[in-house]
Amino acid sequence: MNNTHATPVVELRGVHKTYRLGEHVIRALQGVDLSVQRGELLALTGPSGSGKSTILNLAGLIDTPDSGDIVLNGQTVNALNEEARTLLRRDSLGFVFQSFNLVPVMTVAENVDYPLFIAGVAPAERKERVAAQLAAVGLQEHAHHRPDALSGGQRQRVAIARALVKRPRLVIADEPTASLDSHTADQVLDLMRERGHAEGAAFVIATHDSRLTSRCDRVVSLLDGRLQ
């Protein structure tokens, strides 16, 4: 990896996480240490229930560990309250979801613009950055279409543009190719890799798909809440 000497984008140190699901207690993570470097495309693999999604939720600051530390850009975030974590997500994290999760009532451009809008970026700059992101994912002609007019692969490209428009250090991608056919999935993964390297954003991708792992910089496999 380049910049291995630099501060990791995100680090998990000795993280434990347990869930209750009805009567059952699920020990999702049992002492995980993981660090993600700048610009790195990291794949998390493992069977269902191995803890991939939990790692993503913790690294994405939408969940908190029972014990252990989450360090984002050198800052320990455990003690932050919900509002501070929300603002941190707004300013330095991007998300890509399995089922795209675009807002159906917004146009493609408005979807990509939304993170900049909530971050309070000036309108002229927003317009420019949105256009640049859409051009980078090859969707500039679709800027004024609604997401439901696009194919699955195109929607996921919109989602990638939306995740990267704020120039995050880290993008969390939960099964980003699971809703796509294999050809489109390859394209989307290549796009993430290319765009991630271009923007200097690290991607943490949870995936079942072993074919994708060859295209990632590093693969970490999980089993029963432990790194293998």
Partner: protein, 405 residues
């Protein structure tokens, strides 16, 4: 900045058009119902206030005892030297007319039978020109100044009772101010109806001179003061009361028992109606918003993950409720305006109220304060209701919201 949230809110209301249409329609019907009921109540208050002011004058001036005590002899608490007081009152620029009146009671007889009557001595020309058409003349001609002999007008039920027609001769009997009984032959000039059967059974009108002669006095009971505008009432009362401290000045409202009773009743009826309509509208909007929010739980989770603060989502969801409630309010205002204007032109008659024999035209007032108040109430209630149902979802853990199906 806010425009984006508003645009998003409007776009969200268009997701489920049928549901939004039903919600807006119910809010519109509620608003229209409130405005029409309120406008009708305001029209009624205004009509009754005008009727009272026309009947008694905007202000009534007399000796303080006149309004609180029962007199021992007729006109015991009447006003002397009316001419001077009238001139003084007429000097006020807002006073349009000052009409004296003599209240008396006694018997009226056709020679065969006698009936109890309540008499009003007035200045005919001034009285009927200032007050306008407040009586319906059913036979004969209205009283005028400069009659040859003593003349009266009497209520139609009283006329029927005495078998009197215009031109008939009757005798008035009353106690004088000294306590002796006086009788006076009079000619019937006209028969009238006030629209209140109870009053038409008893009331007679005559001129001041006839009534003073019958009672053997120069006094009058009180003076009715007619102002150029209804709104001048309170100011004029204060001025006149200060200028004539030995006398009491009452406003039309002090005399308007019926007006106050109707207003109290209507305020309660329409207040309860408004409350019920408000509750219905809030429930309908709440229901629509909670369905919309539950359907969008995952989207709310997505927006939260991307760094949207709960209060920003609360704001956009309240705006969405506001679009529904405000849209309904606008449509309801248009409906209420259309119905009010239609009624002004259609001249639909209401049936006579209890104790009356004539109906009245159905009008609904268009009152700016009522419209603005109702619209603001609709908007704020629907915003609050939406924020209330949204608060749980926007604060739920992002992981749970994203996992919602």
């Amino acid at each position: 900045m806010n425009w984006m949230w508003l645009k998003f809110a409007i776009a969200n209301t268009l997701r489920n058009r049928r549901r939004s249409l039903v919600t807006v329609t119910i809010a519109a019907l509620g608003t229209a119902a409130l405005l029409l009921a309120g406008g009708f109540a305001l029209f009624t208050y205004e009509s009754l206030a005008e009727a009272q002011a026309r009947e008694s004058g905007h202000l009534v001036i007399g000796k303080p005892e006149q309004f609180v005590k029962d007199e021992e002899t007729p006109l015991q608490y009447g006003l002397d030297d009316v001419a001077k007081l009238r001139a003084q009152l007429l000097a006020d620029s807002q006073v349009r007319a000052v009409l004296p009146r003599v209240d008396f009671s006694g018997l009226v007889s056709n020679g065969d039978k006698s009936v109890v009557m309540i008499g009003l001595g007035v200045e005919p020309d001034a009285e009927f020109s200032v007050k306008g058409p407040f009586l319906t003349i059913t036979g004969g001609e209205v009283l005028g100044n400069g009659a040859k002999g003593p003349e009266i007008m009497l209520g139609d039920a009283l006329a029927r009772n005495l078998k009197a027609k215009p031109g008939s001769s009757l005798t008035l009997l009353a106690s004088t101010t000294e306590g002796s009984l006086n009788a006076m032959d009079v000619t019937v000039k006209a028969v009238f109806s006030t629209g209140v059967p109870e009053v038409d059974k008893r009331l007679i009108y005559t001129d001041i001179a006839t009534s003073q002669k019958l009672l053997n006095t120069q006094k009058v009971s009180s003076l009715g003061i007619f102002l150029s505008r209804m709104e001048h009432t309170d100011g004029a009362q204060a001025r006149i009361a200060a200028a004539a401290p030995q006398l009491k000045v009452l406003t039309w409202q002090d005399r308007a028992v019926f007006y106050r009773a109707v207003k109290d009743l209507y305020n309660r009826i329409f207040g309860a109606l408004g409350l019920i309509i408000g509750v219905i509208v809030v429930f309908v909007v709440t229901n629509a918003m909670s369905m919309a929010i539950i359907e969008r739980t995952r989207e709310i989770g997505t927006l939260r993950a991307m760094g949207t603060l709960p209060r920003q989502l609360l704001r956009t969801l309240s705006l969405e409720g506001m679009v529904l409630g405000g849209g309904g309010a606008i449509v309801g205002i248009l409906v209420a305006l259309a119905v009010s204007i239609f009624l002004y032109t259609a001249n639909i008659q209401m049936p006579p109220p209890p104790g009356r024999s004539v109906g009245y035209p159905l009008y609904v007032n268009i009152d700016a304060a009522l419209y603005i108040g109702t619209a603001l109430m609709m908007v704020s209630l629907t915003m609050l209701a939406s924020a209330f149902v949204a608060r749980k979802t926007v604060h739920m853990p992002v992981v749970d919201a994203l996992a919602h199906t």
